[in-house]
Each structure stands twice: as C-alpha cells, then as structure tokens.
Amino acid sequence: MVKELEYKKIKTEKNFFFKYQNYLSYIIGLFLAIIVFSVTLLLLGYDPINALLSIPTGAFGRLDNISATLIRFIPLLLTALAFLIALKARFMNLGIEGQLYIGALLAYLVGARMEMVPSFIAIPLVIIVGFIGGVLWLAIPLIMKTKLGVNEIFSTVVMNFIAIIIISWLTVGPLKDPGSLLPRTPFLPESTWMPKIDPQYRLHVGIFLVVIIALILYIILNKTTIGYKIRAVGQNPRASEHGGVDVTRVVITAGLLSGGIAGLAGFMEVFGVHHYLFGGFSPGFGYIGIAVAALGMFHPIGVIFTAFFFAVLQIGGTYMQQSAGISIDIIFIMQAVLVLTVLIVQKWMTTRNSS
C-alpha cells in the first residue's frame, strides 16, 4: 500500500506539466487574484482596467522595462530555488533573506579589494565567495538542526534579523562611504561588476547563470544519486534511514546548496545592479521566493516561469504606481491571493481524488 502510494507520488511529479488540475488551479487562482485586484481598486475609485493594462506596459513597454523585469527575475528565481532545494530534504529554510545579505556582504568584502585583479579572475572568485557567504550563514541553523535537533524554522528567521542588523551597522559605520550622505559603502571596483549584455541597459549576464543553475538543480534532483537521496529523505526520512541513507549528510548537502544559492541572490543584486552595499537592497526577496517556489510547485523548472511572472507583476506594479498613483502593495496582495488560491485548489483536487 505504502509502496503504491509512493509510486503514485513520483509518477505525478513526472507528469507535472501534463496534469489538467494544475492548469485549472492556476486559472482559478489568476481569476480570483484579478477579482480581488479589480474590486479593491473599484471600491477606492480607481479604474481597474487601466491599472491592469499598465502592468504589461510597465513590464515590457520598452527595452528598458524588459531589462528591469529580467533583472528582478534573477533574485526571485534564485531565492525560490534556494527554498525548494532545502524543502526537498525537509529543511524549511526561512533564512534566505539573511543568507542573501551575508552572501552579498562577504562578496563585497572580497570584491572591494580586487582593484588590480582582471575581471576574468575577479568575477568567478566573487561569485564563489558570495556562495560561501550564504553557506556560512545557513551553517549555524543547519548545525543546530543536525547536531542538536533544534527546529530550523525559528533559528533561520532569527538569523535573518541578525544579518540585517549587521549589514545596517556596517553600512552606517565601518564600511560607510565617507563621500556619501547615505548609509552605503563605496562603489566596488569596476572589474568585479557583472558584465552587462548591452552597455545601454542594466541587464547583466547573471540572467544566463541563474537559468543554468535552475537546470543544474533539476538535473541534480532528478538524475543523480544525491538527488534521489534528497527526494527520498524528503518523502520519508525514517524509511530512508533504514534504507541506508545517511539522512544528516543529505540534509546538510541540500541545506548548503540552499544557503549558497541564497548567497548568490544577494551577490547578483549587489554586483549586478547596485555595485555597492546598503541596508535595504532586498525588498524581502527571501520571503517572496517562498511564494514563487510554492506557485511553481517546488519544481526547479516550474519556478523559472513563476519567478518570471512575479517579476512582471512587480516591475509592472512599479510602473502602475508611478503612472496611476496606485500603491504597488496591491501587487503583493494579488500575489498572495494567487498563491494561496492555487495551493488550496490543488490540495482540494488531490484530496478529492484520493478519498
């Protein structure tokens, strides 16, 4: 019976793109999100049709906007991947926000000393350091979980707050750019900046890197032994332990991948977009990434689409705020309604079918 169930589960995962229920849940979710959006705006006396149409205009209207959308896509995809890889091994990494900041910080500390180093050495090096930064910040909750059995949900959240305080302290104090009135660091040397695809636009080569990372994660999860072990531990830790899997080691592997990818998200923002470090460079990417991952059904390829969709909504929403004076927060409401509805509908359909 148990075997049959597990077989069924694996089979449904493979048929992810062919199940009509999934598409139906997205349609219902989108429908409800648009209803909430329109009714809220109507009640407040705005024109919902115009507001809705300004989203695609803002996201794709000109090449500038497309570049902004793709730049926003980068951290959203990375944080979603970071969350889902840990979740596959039953590790709830809610600390992506902190790992992102510390990854950016460590990469900044190394990158700032690289004035004389040519780009082809400096850039790969800071990428690796960014990855390591995220890993280090996750290592504390990870060790606490695997060695002491401390629940990771709270430890990872608390680590976020500590990370944000450290960054704010450094950018106010020791690392502050003396030439600036704002609490931020000096610019990084240009040799460490992520190269732009076209000098006119801000979009940088990180866009290719993140899609490759998503594909690599897909391959790791579905085609390798460690991926198989991660999924086995995620589905049933006790059974995998009996089956001879070193559960601790698997959780650590998945966790370190997760922290590292989160660190890369911070790296991409600082080295690809801002080129200096400051306190609030992440508007909660770590938390939004969880919604992106949930909407993509925790599938490494699925989240490419959902991260892109979220990026469109957010950049379009920024444009909507500027052009129509409607707060971008309506976009966050819409996103939450969409993901909640999709999760509810999917759950409802699977339980209805199985019982």
């Binding site: 949900i153 450290i166 409401i333």
Partner: protein, 306 residues
C-alpha cells in the same frame, strides 16, 4: 544611573505588551496544533485598522474592536487554508504574512493621499497608592489600559487553559486529535477557533501599538515582535503564565537597545550591534529549550478522518 535602569525596565514593560498579547493567542493556537507565522503582519494590519477607525470616529473602543476584528479575519483566512483545506501551515502562514503586510501598506498608502491618520495615545492610568512606590511604581503601575489588560488576559487565559474543560479540550486536540475525535470532540472546530483567536490577539497587539504606544502608523511598527512572540511561546513552554516572564525578558532586551541609543550614553556606532541582542537571546532560548520541553505532538499536522 537608576533613572536609566528605571526607564529601561519601564520601557521593557511597554515593549513586552505586544509580545505578550501575541504569544497568549499563539499559545492557544499551537496547543490546538496550528502555527501561524503571519502574526507579524497581522499586528501591522490591525494597527492600521485600529488607528484609522479611531482617527475617523474618535473612539478608542471602536478602534480597538476594529483591530481585533481585522486580526480575527486574517486568522480566519489562515484557518480556512490550513485547517479546512490542509495546506502546509508554515507556507500558508508566510503567504498570510505577505497578504496582511501588503494590505496594511496599501491601505496606508491610499489613506495618506487624503490625510495622515494620527491619534493621541491613551492616557496612562496611575493606580492609586501603588504608583507612588518609588521605583516599582514607575515601572509597573503607571501605564495605560492595554498594559494592565495584557497581564490580566495572560492570567485569565492561563487559568482557562489549565483549569477548565475548554482548556483541556484545546490541549488534547493538539496532542492526540484522533482520540479527541473518537471522544466526540470536534477537532477542527477547536482549531478554527484557536487560529481565529490568535489572529484576534495579534489584532489587540496591533491596537496597543497604534493607540497605546505610537499614535501613528509605520510599516515596521511591529518591530519583529510578532516573530519574537513565536519564540516566547517556546520559551514559555506553551504556558500563558510563563509567557509573562518571557515577554518581559525580550521586552527589556529591546528596551536596553532603545534606551542606550536614545540616551546617547555610548555614541560610537558600535552601539548599533546592541540591537542584535534580543535575537541572540532568542537563538540561545531556542537551543536551550529544545530538549527540556515538548511541543504539542500534533503541531502543524492537519487532521481529517481517514
């Protein structure tokens, strides 16, 4: 020096109130087997609702009521998602977090285009005789109604949880839902009610910040205290009585940072790091309390008849 210490502790009492309100509700919720990670944002949302209603009507009572209803409403969305539809509680909680945060900021943005709502905060009540005690009086007996209410509710809900059959049912539902169901208790009804209750308590906390502490809205006014309340739940080992102590501990922790920076005792930017202290204490709490205590056995596990 005594001045500073008195103001640290008195400030700590004030800061602990939010944590205490939220943790009482969350204790009930977790005792029944549900965890809501969206509390931080529920505080923010209900703070705005409370502030706005008070601003429009000039009535603190109506504002507080509106804040509680807003909190309970968000709690209802969470309980529908997790208890009725059995979506993962943690992920649903985080989505509720962004939903309520978005709603709070959206309403604030929209309201600010007309006017910026500001209210005068509730006056302090000086308890006769007790407030005249030299240091202790200032610390404990010179606060507004919300502060006394928080401690009162902690004791009342502690008694309900441990001394009444309602409390017994709540505790049982979180430990062994199957047995409760067999005994004729409506497991999911109790979970719904507890989840809504925890939202309502977060709403009360929001009303306190808006009407009893700040008198205006700021999107970060919850100050991570909703998250800390969830750690206090662990610290208090799921008891409302011990939550008083736990919320005091963290309230004073936050207050030390605020007072030392505010008083300008240490002007170096190193002082900034003191802000991290409550969180480091929180980490220590999580580590120390991992083995000595047991969370409700059915926490985060949805229940349905198989």
């Amino acid at each position: 020096m005594t001045d500073i210490i008195t103001s640290i502790i008195a400030g700590g009492v004030l800061l602990s109130v939010t944590i205490l309100f939220v943790s009482i509700g969350e204790i009930y919720n977790e005792r029944a087997g549900v965890i809501n990670l969206g509390l931080e944002a529920i505080i923010t949302l209900s703070a705005f609702v409370g502030l706005w209603v008070t601003f429009k009507t000039g009535n603190f009572f109506l504002g507080t009521l509106a804040a509680i209803v807003a909190g309970a409403g968000v709690g209802l969305i969470h309980s529908f998602t997790c208890v009725k539809m059995r979506v993962n509680q943690l992920i649903a909680g985080l989505l509720i977090l962004s939903l309520a945060n978005g709603l709070a900021n959206f309403l604030n943005f929209t309201a600010n285009q007309e006017t910026v709502p500001i209210v005068t905060i509730l006056p302090n009540i000086y308890i006769p005789f007790l407030s005249d005690i030299p240091v202790l009086g200032e610390i404990l007996f010179q606060h507004n109604l919300f502060v006394y209410l928080a401690y009162f509710l902690a004791i009342v809900f502690g008694l309900i949880l441990y001394k009444t059959s309602w409390g017994l049912k709540i505790r049982a539902v979180g430990e062994n839902p199957e047995a409760c169901d067999a005994a004729g208790i409506n497991v999911n009804l109790i979970r719904h009610l507890c989840d809504i209750f925890s939202g309502a308590m977060a709403g009360l906390a929001g009303a306190f910040i808006a009407l009893g502490d700040l008198g205006l809205f700021d999107s970060s006014m919850a100050g991570n205290r909703g998250w800390i309340a969830i750690v206090v739940v662990i610290f208090s080992r799921w008891s409302p009585f011990r939550a008083i102590l736990g919320s005091m501990l963290f309230g004073i922790g936050f207050s030390i940072a605020a007072n030392l920076i505010g008083a300008g005792i240490i002007t170096s930017y190193w002082i900034y790091l003191i802000n991290a202290m409550p969180y480091i204490v929180a980490l220590v709490v999580i580590v120390l309390f991992r083995g000595t205590t047991k969370a409700p056995a059915a926490l985060t596990v949805p229940y349905w008849r198989k």
